[in-house]
């Protein structure tokens, strides 16, 4: 941890004086409705990241404007315009959902404002819509489900029934799953983006008699889905595999119904590196003993990521973040390296950790992380 701070200061000290004297960041996320569990964690992770650098990102006093996009595309676009034209922010950060990100993406990159996503990673931006102003500190949407697909393929599971909400990330996740799972599909169902009652879909699922179910339902949708799955008596009949559904934003609400479920992830609180431990301790201290979750981990580095932007303000940007290696390799994602500092973000420590007794009302969820994610951000220390 000390080496991290030392590197930070060294990096900052080694850079010549900058043109600007302060930094404004526009933060937008879903802070209302069922998906607020995700947005609140992203916001709190961001605040913690700021606290860890004493509100001085890249050595500049930083102000962050926090806004709620209410999971509505028109509100997100309006907020993006406000950030760019009215508040003149240096970067827009946060963002919880891929469809909102895609909606504001053209406006933001055309105005040459940096856009850092903490959660969504739509495949279009990794491909033909790549822009040098876009960074992601999380993943490409396909990644975690690729891991689950590979796992089920290796385990020899056949006849999988897939469920996901009908929006950009839903389609990305299913595409990623099918990239590595080559077995038979018992069904592929896309439900409405705001649909909260899955009883009809669960009845269809039961009639299709699959041997396993793969589901992707972020935030509040996941809470409802897993609870209804258990209530319908399906949990002990057909095993449920998920990505981005059962995580630390939704587990407090799902409770005992999550016991015994398998999921893929690229972060786990049991990762035994010192930066992670500090992050968890401070997060729990600052947010009424709420446990941090993956979206929270994604925004803390986001603040560190803006350091290269802060330093290069007034000069041309450094090398593009999204790899242009090949558009055909659709499994790549954003490697957020900052070229001019010693801080690089290495691959996460992949663990199959057990959720320990810290979490309220949850006993045991085995998490199996992806081995394919090579350059995901995590809170690893500087080499």
């Amino acid at each position: 941890m000390k080496t991290w701070l030392a590197a930070l200061l060294a990096a900052v000290a080694s850079v010549p004086a900058m043109a600007a004297d302060k930094l404004t960041l526009g933060f937008m996320s879903v802070l209302s409705g069922p998906a607020a569990v995700i947005g609140n964690d992203i916001r709190d992770g961001m605040r913690l990241g700021l606290a860890h650098v004493n509100n001085r990102v890249g050595g500049l006093p930083t102000t962050v404007l926090v806004e709620d996009d209410r999971q509505k595309v028109e509100v997100a676009v309006e907020l993006a315009n406000k950030f760019i034209k009215q508040d003149h922010v240096d970067a827009i950060i946060g963002l919880s959902f891929s469809n909102l990100l895609l909606a504001i993406y053209p406006t933001v990159v055309e105005s040459q404002t940096v856009l850092i996503s903490s959660n969504p990673g739509p495949s279009q931006i990794a491909g033909k819509d790549c822009s040098k102003y876009f960074f992601s500190t999380s993943w490409q949407g396909d990644n975690w489900s690729e891991a689950m697909g590979a796992y089920l393929q290796k385990a020899g599971v056949q006849n999988v029934y897939i469920l996901a909400p009908n929006y950009a990330a839903g389609r990305d996740v299913v595409t990623g799953f099918k990239r590595f799972y080559k077995g038979k599909l018992a069904g592929e169902v896309y439900t409405g983006f705001t649909q909260l009652d899955f009883q009809a879909e669960l009845a269809q699922l039961r009639a299709a008699k699959p041997s396993a179910v793969f589901a992707f339902y972020p935030g509040g949708l996941g809470i409802n889905f897993v609870k209804q799955y258990a209530q319908a008596g399906l949990k002990d009949q057909i095993p449920l595999y998920t990505s981005y559904t059962v995580d630390y934003t939704t587990l407090p609400a799902i409770g005992e119904d999550a016991v015994g479920l398998l999921r893929t992830s690229s972060w786990d609180p049991d990762s035994a590196n010192p930066v992670n431990k500090r992050f968890i301790a401070d997060f729990e201290a600052n947010s009424d003993a709420r446990h941090p979750s993956t979206p929270a981990t994604r925004t803390t580095p986001s603040c560190c990521l803006t350091r290269p932007c802060a330093r290069s303000k007034g000069r041309s940007r450094t090398s593009p973040p999204c790899s242009r290696r090949s558009r055909k390799r659709t499994s790549h994602h954003f490697a957020a390296t900052s070229v001019s500092t010693a801080t690089t973000f290495r691959s996460s420590t992949t663990t199959s950790g057990e959720w320990s007794k810290r979490a309220p009302s949850c006993a045991f969820v085995r998490s199996k992380s992806s081995s394919r994610i090579t350059a995901t951000l995590t809170l690893s220390s500087v080499r």
Binding site: S32, P34, D197, A200, A203, G220, Q228, Q231, A232, G233
Partner: protein, 305 residues
């Protein structure tokens, strides 16, 4: 498409239908007797859900939460009637829409101020969790069976009150001819408050039962309110029997449509076309049904006057 699947979807449709009925009963009485368009009925649904969550958290018992939700919404409904509705009785429907729309905004903000904008999640007590085994071999959640049962029990209770008690007689008379009832010396103001209050309490009951299924969030009432209006238009304004029949029809048609329209269409047109057309058509189905009913019987299925 087996019998077990159809039965399970029918149960889902019935469960959704009785929830619509609980809301439609209050709304149709208010519209029929007091000639009052109450858009804030959805807000009472939301208030019921939130008060139940608060009651459960405060007392630790689910049943106490239910009682708090029900009684609390009754009080809120009666207060709403006394404070905001009384000046509106003689006025144009548009004025009533404007006022009740303002009430929607007021309640949404009030709830957001007190409980925040995120969704609240509660867990059910152990005796309501789990599933029961149907005779067809499939399983059905206990909680939804209980919701279905409660809804049907309320329907029976309402039928008893409306057809066998003095209060019910006054309600039916008021729905037929309000002026005459007032002229006959009945305390019409008290009747209105009581009717409004119980309509609100029923909406609150629907809300607190829906809470564990959907999400408890500000604005949760508006989504279901549209379907409730469809129900009372189909069933006939002022008629509780119409509300029940309309609600069951709408619930079953909506659920079965969403479940079976796509596979049925896939047998007629191509599978990919059915994939796109099926869900779109299914979401329109109840409105098409409403249009057909209105074309054939403009006053709805059961008329009260």
């Amino acid at each position: 498409m087996t019998f077990a699947l159809v039965l399970e979807q029918l149960l889902n449709g019935l469960q959704y239908g009785v929830m619509l009925f609980l809301m439609a009963a209050g709304l149709t009485l208010v519209l029929g007797i007091m000639n009052l368009v109450n858009l804030a009925h959805g807000s009472l649904y939301m208030v019921g859900a939130y008060l139940a969550v608060a009651g459960t958290q405060w007392s630790g018992s689910y049943l106490v939460g239910v009682a708090v939700g029900f009684a609390g919404t009754l009080v809120v409904g009666m207060a709403m009637e006394v404070i905001t509705m009384r000046p509106l009785y003689g006025r144009d429907h548009l004025d009533q829409v404007l006022v009740t729309f303002g009430l929607i905004l007021f309640f949404n903000e009030l709830i957001a101020i007190i409980w925040g904008r995120g969704s609240l999640y509660t867990s059910l007590p152990a005796w309501l969790q789990g599933h029961i085994n149907l005779f067809t071999g499939s399983r059905y959640p206990v909680y939804r069976m209980v919701v279905l049962g409660v809804g049907l029990a309320v329907a029976v209770l309402l039928w008893y009150v409306v057809t066998r008690t003095r209060l019910g007689m006054l309600i039916r008379a008021g729905a037929s001819n309000r002026t005459m009832v007032a002229a006959l010396g009945v305390n019409i103001r008290l009747l209105y408050t009581v009717v409004f209050g119980f309509g609100a309490a029923l909406a609150g009951l629907a809300g607190l039962m829906a809470g564990p299924i959907y999400a408890v969030q500000p604005g949760m009432g508006e989504l279901i309110l549209i379907q409730v209006f469809v129900v009372i238009v189909i069933g006939g304004i002022g008629s509780i029997r119409g509300a029940l029949v309309g609600a069951i029809i709408v619930g079953v048609v909506d659920t079965l449509g969403r479940a079976f329209l796509k596979p049925v269409l896939a047998t007629i047109i191509s599978a990919s076309a059915a994939e796109a057309a099926g869900p779109a058509l299914a979401s329109m189905l109840i409105y098409l049904l409403m249009a057909v009913v209105l074309a054939l019987k403009p006053a709805g299925l059961f008329q009260s006057r």
